[in-house]
């Protein structure tokens, strides 16, 4: 589903932050992406999400060479990817419900066709009572869960999560991990970038370890 061949990335004229990355992310797979701070985890996620272009190498996503994609093509591929960012990126003028439903709205679906699905997911992530609250009044953990719900609501084929349990307590962290596992079982490939060794120890999955810009894969 995702294939990197000798991918390198540098910002401006600086040194390469990612070097000679070659990896495959098969469909339905589950992997943790880890490494020390500054190793390039977020940069790799941004490459996977097509918000960065590699300075060299080849990225093939869903069978398409991303270097050949125009903006509409990138937008179409992004609809198949869900992403959870460290800073949540919720829209402050929309309720939790509206934030989570945003991918459906962008797809042009009628509100009545997804209302139940959104409410169910919000309840599942423990935001049933907060669905009408605006993000500024949500706690960090609640924002995290809302961001995760928004990323998974449209059943993406690939889910990318950057430190998804960084702002929640261990109990909720376990529950969110179960959400990712459930999603993976239903067919979504999952990449979770995390520092949390405890989280990784809870589930036996492939580990992609970034160190000094190079990738080491532990199956």
């Amino acid at each position: 589903m995702v294939r990197f061949e000798n991918v390198g990335l540098r910002y401006g004229l600086g040194a390469e932050v990612l070097r000679d990355l070659s990896l495959e992310i098969p469909a339905h797979s589950f992997q943790f992406l880890t490494g020390p701070s500054g190793a390039g985890k977020t940069s790799l996620l941004r490459l996977l999400f097509l918000s960065l272009r590699p300075t060299r190498g080849l990225i093939n996503l869903f069978g398409q060479d991303v270097s050949l994609l125009d903006k509409d093509g990138i937008a179409a591929l992004r609809k198949r990817i869900g992403i959870v960012l460290q800073d949540f990126r919720l829209l402050d003028h929309m309720t939790t419900y509206e934030n989570v439903a945003l991918p459906f709205r962008v797809m042009g679906r009628e509100e009545s066709s997804y209302r139940r699905e959104v409410i169910d997911l919000l309840r599942w992530v423990g935001l049933g009572e907060r669905m009408d609250a605006l993000p500024p009044v949500l706690s960090g953990g609640e924002k995290q869960r809302a961001a995760i719900a928004r990323a998974v609501i449209a059943r993406p084929q690939l889910l990318l999560a950057d430190e998804p349990t960084g702002n929640v307590d261990p109990t909720l962290g376990r529950r969110l991990l179960r959400l990712f596992i459930e999603l993976n079982r239903s067919g979504t490939a999952v990449v979770i970038a995390t520092h949390d060794i405890g989280l990784m120890d809870q589930y036996n999955a492939r580990r992609l370890v970034l160190h000094e810009g190079r990738l080491h894969i532990y199956e």
């Binding site: 509206e98 945003l102 709205r105 139940r116």
Partner: protein, 337 residues
Amino acid sequence: MPAAWCSTKGDCTFMSKARHDRGAMMDLGHERPQVPVKARIQAPIVPRGSVAGRALVVVVAIMTFLASLTTGVVLLVYGAASEWQADVASEMTVQLRSVSDRNMERDVAAVVAALRALPGVAEARPLSGQESGKLLEPWLGTGIVLDELPVPRMVILRVAPGVPFDIEAARRSVAAVAPSATIDDHRAWIERMRSMTGATVLAGVAIWLLVVIATIISVSFATRGAMAANRPIVEVLHFVGAGDRYIANRFLQHFLLLGLQGGVIGGGAAMLAFGFSESLGSWFAGTPAGDQFAALLGTFSLQPAGYLALAVQALLIAAITAFASRRTLFATLDEID
């Protein structure tokens, strides 16, 4: 696929099978009432308040007002000049200079008779001595006895509208009966008026273009400002797979509405101003100032077609606002991506 959310075990207890949208209420803040989930009012993706709307409406309204004033004044000047031009063009003056060996009265009568015999002449009337004296009053004062002065005599010639009039034939006929007679067809005046009208129209078009350019620049700045203020929204929309066209349309709706508001306010104010000036003209009719004004610009009233032109112009400026905004939106989206 709600079932999948329910497939986890243990604490999945809140995955109630009951219809929880039956009575759930959403808190929409102070501005919106609480409504059942069934009838959710979706917040706009780009909040209207985040687009610097009021300032832009004022700018577009002012620009539309100025453009409308320019257009209206150009239409008035053009209309008045055409009217005046038609009047002057249909009237000619025959001047008979005083020559020692000729009888002036006989020459005048001969000229009038010759002119009346020509095709296309509606009227040929000699100015009486009294009328000529009135014309010279500003220079010579009152009480002048013209008989003692070699004052030329005038014959006013009016041409019938729509009938071709051969000015050269008229000159020949007049010269045959009175060698000192010359015909002034006011061509110099007409040419001067034509060039003055042309210059006014050109100046009006130039001002109109400047106003439109200023509008485009203002709208571009406002669009950039709105995009900068809403950059987080644009980024999130990109994250959830929205294309540039989708995002641009969310903003465009606001700008089209703002442009329409500004256009209607500015165009409406200009129409009111012209309506008011028309009333003002009728109030002052009969007074010396009113008469001078009427002599220069006619009735100072826009024809219905003029008002229609102003309305079309207001819509045009709204469309220009939307177009400028759309161009800036796509350019800015390219930069953001």
